[in-house]
Assembly symmetry: C2
């Protein structure tokens, strides 16, 4: 519904490559890791391009982004477009999508009580997956 016809969004080799890498990588990973992964596969894609596609995909809601404790941005292709959060392993990046109706409700209630509006929230859970338990 947003494609007037004529000259618009072009399908490029790089766009597919980034999307493919994202699909094949199991957990959250950084833009740089994705870039490295592409080179490993023999795909030549500039780092700039990787960032650009990740940003676009993120805006479209096709990938989820979180920030790891060090401040790096991590990306992951997500199954559902619905709002959800993640429980991510600090060691391997493997993550589980968790649904948080409870949290959403809590956030709204708290915000309303304080008189705040247009409230947005970030909720991230980091821990050790079964394979990496201390």
């Amino acid at each position: 519904m947003e494609q007037p016809r004529g000259t618009r969004v072009r399908g490029t080799r790089q766009a597919s490559a980034v999307a493919a890498a994202l699909t094949s990588l199991p957990g959250f990973c950084s833009a740089q890791e994705i870039h490295a992964e592409l080179r490993r596969r023999g795909e030549t894609v500039g780092l700039t391009t990787v960032y650009r596609h990740l940003q676009v995909l993120s805006e479209q809601g096709a990938v989820d982004t979180i920030r790891d404790p060090s401040g790096e941005t991590l990306y992951r292709q997500c199954g559902s477009t619905a709002h959800h959060h993640h429980l991510t392993c600090r060691v391997c990046g493997r993550s589980v999508e968790v649904e948080g109706r409870v949290v959403e409700q809590w956030a709204e209630k708290v915000a309303a009580e304080a008189g705040f509006t247009s409230v947005d929230h970030t909720v991230e859970l980091f821990g050790l997956c079964p394979d990496h338990a201390a």
Copy 2:
């Protein structure tokens, strides 16, 4: 209880200055803003030193840190040492401490179900305070 007597932690002008600035600033603010505020007051404190003190205070639990959407780290002196979260105004940085027993419990439950351990969580709420409602 952790001060053997002899040569230990030194109380310096800079340490007090950073603490004072933190006390006087109402909302969350960045290390650089704190540094600027100090210079404005005529206090001469190096940026490096500001960062160092903020880190120490943060480890002691005397200040809370969050990351704003752009990735910058923000600091704020906190009343309670108890675990809590914040509801921060996107415009003025003013923030309210909110207690989240519900969230903690939810986080633990979700983690246990997925078999994750050593789970840590970050929960931040950003919105518009009454004064800045659209």
